[in-house]
Symmetry: C2
Subunit: 217 residues, 2 copies
């Protein structure tokens, strides 16, 4: 009742400086962790990238592992959002097309976030392990039921829903995680917005219609 600006719990306030610097550190850390993994990243490098002194980084995040955890948590929601939106009452083709589109968009807009997850999983998911087996598993289970329902009502071919979801994850995240390989093989410097539209068309066409010609043979 005395101070209306403060939050309800004792130490819950955030200075403008605090908010700005924490964001700057998290951005820098995301890039560095994505490039070198947890073990290969150094606090010095993160500090340099955030244009701060190392002790100042430690002022906001006591340990390197806290920083790593914070980066992972910050990106979890945005990483998951597209799957959550799969609508059981929508048209299957349209829903899946939309899902692929959103996942690809995420790859284009947040490549480092995608790489953070990739390195974490590649390294055995030491931090995310529990989360994967609980929240994510439950969510995928629910969405797999949606897909199975589409199959049971004859609107989708009979495929394993889990492996379909993995296929879409793999295909869309590939363009964020393996950018150097994709650009080198294609002989480009980077992947333009137009190229991402071509990717979306190709993926949707293959996954929905398949490679074998329709209507004949």
């Amino acid at each position: 009742m005395s101070n209306p600006r403060r939050g309800d719990s004792p130490k819950n306030s955030k200075t403008r400086i605090q908010a700005r610097n924490e964001a700057r550190i998290l951005d820098a850390a995301q890039t560095v962790f994505a490039e070198h993994g947890f073990g290969g990243a150094t606090v010095d490098r993160i500090a340099a990238r955030a244009k701060m002194s190392k002790p100042n980084v430690h002022y906001y995040f006591k340990r390197k592992s806290d920083l790593y955890l914070a980066v992972l948590m910050r990106t979890l929601d945005i990483w998951l959002a597209p799957l959550k939106d799969l609508d059981p009452d929508g048209d299957p083709a349209q829903e899946l097309r939309h899902y692929i589109s959103r996942k690809l968009h995420f790859s284009r807009e947040n490549p480092t976030a995608s790489r953070i997850f990739a390195t974490e999983i590649l390294q055995g998911a030491p931090v995310l392990e529990r989360y994967l087996g609980e929240d994510l598993r439950t969510l995928v289970e629910r969405k797999a039921k949606v897909i199975r329902h589409w199959i049971d009502t004859g609107r989708l071919a009979a495929v394993d829903p889990y492996h379909l979801i993995f296929l879409i994850w793999a295909a869309t995240q590939h363009y964020a995680d393996f950018t150097p390989q994709v650009t080198a093989v294609m002989g480009r410097e980077s992947l333009s917005k137009g190229e991402f539209e071509r990717i979306e068309d190709s993926l949707c066409k293959i996954i929905l219609d398949g490679l074998l010609p329709r209507g004949k043979a």
Copy 2:
């Protein structure tokens, strides 16, 4: 002519001990690099895993980077072999099915080799960059022509060959690179041989036939 057991060039011989230890070190290094990336891996850990002293590891591989390079090179051929075998004169469906099968088999038999490549690419491919833009690019270009020929002769739907290849790479390597995520989401401890057969069926069905039901609607 004096010594029949030796190789032709001066220092080209390899002791049994040498061959055995180099292999042991490379195996250990492959695992450690795959788990921690180049920067996060330590020579100590590699030595411990190979059950050797650190100086002895350096006796066989002068620098950590030499070891990393050797591990990458050792797995390049086996990683590429399946794509090389795509036969222009074969049946497209059968060739692609076979390709998917072989890539999946690689994921199952050599998961750490797959992860080595994944971490290397994720970290910007500092070592493999040149190779990707030259040898790999040429190979993929050649195989893309094969696929395009199949399309032009009406045996395959019109899709971008490059993105088709990327899709197959992504989907098959996913099961090696993201094992913890796959097992956690599926609620399994590991992926059995039977599960890999299910994966192969699912992938081939989706990629060849598509998700939308055929023959009706």
